[in-house]
Amino acid sequence: MTEVDAEIIEQARKGDPLAWETLVVRHTRRIYNLCFRFVGRVDQAEDLTQEVFLKVFRNLSSYDAGSGQFVTWMMSVGRNLLIDHYRQSKDDRVTVSVTAENDDELGILDSLPTSEPNAHAEMERNERAVLLRRALDKLPPQLKEAVILRDLEELSYEEIEQILKIPEGTVKSRINRGRLELAKTLQKLRSRRFSR
């Protein structure tokens, strides 16, 4: 953590609204992307980001700078909420995955940035993103979060340990199993798509 971050966090703890606003502006994108990658829906990601910040705001005094970076701590708070959300919406999720034949129903395509100049390339990229989204949704939550943190958020093993609060061996094991499951699921989804 930089000195600037530490200073801003200290100011925010003292109740400085400008410091808090700076933190929100700085970390919204990261937290929103984590939520979106986990739930795969724009509206839910938005609500969850708001909840994460609310929880962070209330527990700001409990943050210990010695235990790791502020953003890692925020992601840890976010992860707990995401797991709770997963448990609560398990039934809804099953219903959505069964009924959402059209990819747009998940709100994935609308949320992706349109940076590709070529329409065909953009279509391919969107297709890959949707496929990955579907494959991730089929993973058990423990493996899903490990893969998201490692391969999508590109965090180090140490950071993942801090967020998930599990030993390094378990982190590695979950990442390995998650990758394996994801590769197999993607393979199945691709072959199913080709066979249509």
Partner: protein, 208 residues
Amino acid sequence: MECHDAENVLGLYVEGGLSDTQSAKVRAHLEGCGDCALLLLDMESTIVLCKSFPEVEPPPRLIQRVLQETIGPRRSLSWVEYLQVLFRPLYASPRFATGACLAAVSFSIVMNAFGVNLDEIRWSEITPRTVVDGLNRTANVAYDTGMRRLNGLKILYQIQSKIEEMGIDGSQTERPEVDSKTKERSEENSATEHRTVLRARVWSPVKV
């Protein structure tokens, strides 16, 4: 190594997370097992796919929603507060403070070099009119001083040219008249006097 054992470590093997001995065992297994080699390819492409998953842009209203939920309704910021928010990461850093101090010292040195004493300046005196008047006065004084020095140099140059001309004329008139000693002496005396007077004029401070 069996397929099951290889699968258990393939995810770490992809990113070089295994020891040399374990990696060698997995490599040996992959050379003889087509299924596991295919699985490795799938896993590699999966990781590439994950890493290329695009970042999504959060909706602009989200920050407002979060702020509304946490610190309540937002009052409009004054322009000073707006600048504080904008530059907070900058001015809170020691590097920025050091840079600002160095810039202030450099500024005061430059101002002193131009003859401006910062101690004498009062904030109440700094108005557009006084600034323009001050600049105008400084420019006029600088122009006047420059012109005076230039004119001084011109005059000096003219006097020197004149002396040289007279020196040449004197030497030309001296040569043919060598026969009369008294005449020579009187002419030498008059020429010396003349030169002394001219030199005294030339090297005395020029009054313009």
